[in-house]
């Protein structure tokens, strides 16, 4: 029964206009972002190059570097009486109360040894020697200040500033980017070829771009499919069938996931094939199956979650509400993701970002978090599908169904 319904659902999705629009959008987006990838693939770095930006950023940023930058930023914000935070990617101006301002002054004194009323002098002296337009304001931490004590104080600042503060350790690390030298570039390139199997880096970049689309596009296909029965006034006919609610909903969910993933898997072959062509004749040992690992490990949970959100809200309300809910979630995920766009800081974002083929060490460091993130969205999808089955079953028995609007049919059968 399940397989028969699964095949039918696949055929239904395959025949719908919106599915092909989904495929076209994916292909166009992929072509615009990664279409010319073959021409831009990385060669080994050469000594004396103008710069090594293409190979990423310095990984061994010292704790001293982080502290200098954070303390400079803190004193700057204190002096001007305002701090900029980025809660969802947009700048937000935060002004502290008098007591909080005093507390920040105390923290500056504690961590740098500079009296709050001497900051102006320090600023003026610093920018007499440095160019204010190109160089950040840096302050040396007080002698003997440990990194842990520094982080403790920064945590207090973050509590005052609220979400999006640039004084968390993750934020400091992501914002303190130092250029690589030749040796650093060689090491980064070796990570790509030896540890990442070359294709790994490019498939990760593919996942970064496709994640943006996978976070929104499936909702349109799902909502259309779910509303189709209602529009064709076929609901009652389907309710009367022998198949259980669980089989109907899970077969539909499975079919839509498979159909949604199919073009993504096909497109993910492109970076692999490009890598094969580009590295032909070299000694690089490619990871030929990287695309499968990343498609299923990275992108599938996003598709599962979006599909489940679409099914749940459409079944619940019989309207296109799921589209608006998912659009809002996608928008927020996208804005939040900007802070960790270079990879390594995946957090709990629906759309984890890693907008580079490099930064293997960041990926490795953040891997556990990424795995937990992906597992969470898979479980969330399962929970939403279970809830969808429950709602469907209730409607089928006539409890929640009245022009598709839930909770309207409150009358008991005897009252009716």
């Amino acid at each position: 029964m399940f397989l028969r319904l699964f095949q039918k659902e696949c055929a239904q999705v395959g025949k719908s206009l919106i599915y092909w629009l989904y495929v076209v959008c994916l292909v166009v987006f992929f072509s615009s972002q990664m279409g010319s990838m073959k021409d831009n693939m990385l060669q080994p770095p050469e000594r004396g190059q103008d710069n090594y930006q293409a190979y990423g950023f310095k990984e061994d940023v010292t704790e001293q570097d982080l502290m200098r930058k954070a303390l400079g930023e803190l004193a700057w914000g204190y002096y001007y009486g305002s701090f900029t935070t980025y809660p969802v990617g947009y700048a937000k101006d935060v002004r502290l109360s008098e007591s909080e301002q005093e507390e920040v002054g105390r923290i500056i004194n504690e961590t740098t040894g500079i009296e709050p009323d001497k900051i102006e002098e320090h600023l003026a002296a610093y920018f007499e020697k440095h160019d204010v337009t190109t160089e950040p304001y840096l302050i040396e931490p007080k002698k003997g200040l440990t990194y842990e004590a520094f982080l403790n104080e920064m945590e207090k600042v973050t509590d005052m500033l609220g979400p999006g503060s640039s004084f968390t350790e993750e934020s400091l690390k992501s914002e303190t980017r130092l250029s690589l030298d030749y040796e650093g570039a060689v090491k980064a390139y070796e990570n790509l070829t030896d540890k990442d199997g070359y294709t790994g880096g490019y498939t990760r970049l593919f996942c970064d771009y496709m994640g943006i689309m996978a976070g929104i596009l499936p909702i349109f296909v799902v909502a259309t499919r779910m509303l189709r029965d209602r529009r064709a006034q076929m609901q009652d006919l389907i309710y009367a069938r022998r198949a259980s609610s669980a089989v109907i909903i899970t077969s539909r969910f499975a079919a839509m996931t498979v159909m949604m993933m199919a073009p993504i898997i096909i497109l993910s072959l492109v970076p692999t094939v490009d890598s094969m062509i580009f590295t032909k004749g070299s000694q690089i040992s490619l990871d030929y199956l990287a695309f499968l690992k990343y498609d299923f490990g990275w992108l599938l949970p996003t598709v599962l979650a979006v599909t489940a959100v679409g099914m749940f809200f459409t079944e619940l309300t019989d309207t296109a509400l799921g589209v608006l809910v998912q659009a809002a979630w996608w928008f927020i995920s996208l804005q939040i993701g900007v802070a960790g766009i270079y990879g390594g800081q995946y957090g709990w974002n629906l759309i984890p970002r890693h907008n580079t083929e490099m930064n293997y060490s960041g990926f490795k460091e953040g891997f556990t978090q990424l795995a937990m993130n992906r597992a969470f969205y898979t479980l969330l999808a399962a929970a939403l599908i279970a809830a969808t089955i429950w709602i469907y079953e209730k409607k089928r028995k006539g409890h929640l169904k009245r022009r598709g609007k839930i909770l309207r049919n409150r009358k008991k059968p005897t009252q009716a």
């Binding site: 919106i18 947009y90 509303l227």
Partner: protein, 205 residues
């Protein structure tokens, strides 16, 4: 005139109120997550172009929603009042709501010492709202599917973020600072698309 007022009143009472409410909530609660005080010109433009302009998708796209049901559509087309007039009244209502909401929002931003040239930014934001809305109305009219109506402007928005001005050229929606000429193109495209959407829908009815 009385007839048109009655149509407008009914649209507000039965359909538009929900979309206006969603947009108002979107703008009202925005200070919780984004700053609308002490922003420089670039940051102000970013808030208006990438956030406020999204109300165009919510306000304009569902213009044909009340006649989603085919039987209802047949009934309305059989009446003396032309269905295109009803669509135009709905669009005007959405436009009025957008005009008022953006003006209020920008006034709040201005009083919060955000840097911006009020008239220029207002025009730019409205042009983008009409472009998003026009695309939604056109896609809905063409496909007779509200979800495709939402999909078109959202994909356009995503494409603008991903591809940037390099691919979208004169139709890049976030050009307030980089190329203000785009706003005239967007406005023209929005109006044409909206008109085309209504005509297509009328022909299909």
């Amino acid at each position: 005139m009385e007839k048109y007022c009655a149509i407008g009143k009914n649209q507000l009472r039965h359909n538009a109120w929900l979309h206006i409410l969603v947009c108002a909530a979107m703008l009202l609660f925005s200070p919780l997550v984004l700053g609308i005080q002490n922003l420089d010109q670039v940051q102000s433009a970013k808030v208006l172009e990438t956030y406020v302009a999204l109300i165009g998708i919510i306000l304009f796209t569902p213009v044909f929603l009340p006649e989603q049901n085919r039987d209802l559509r047949d009934l309305i087309t059989s009446k003396y009042t032309r269905i295109t007039e009803i669509y135009c009244i709905r669009i005007l209502l959405s436009l009025t709501a957008a005009v008022l909401m953006v003006a209020t929002y920008m006034t709040v931003m201005k009083s919060g010492r955000c840097e911006m040239e009020f008239g220029k930014y207002y025009f730019g934001t409205m042009a983008e709202i009409i472009a998003f809305g026009g695309l939604g109305v056109f896609a809905y009219g063409l496909s007779d599917n509200l979800i495709i109506g939402y999909m078109a402007p959202l994909v356009y928005y995503a494409a603008a973020i991903g591809m940037g001005a390099k691919y979208l050229k004169k139709f890049y929606p976030f050009g307030m600072i980089s190329d203000f000429q785009t706003k005239y193109w967007l406005l023209a495209a929005g109006i044409i698309l909206m008109a085309a959407g209504v005509i297509i829908r009328y022909k299909k009815s």
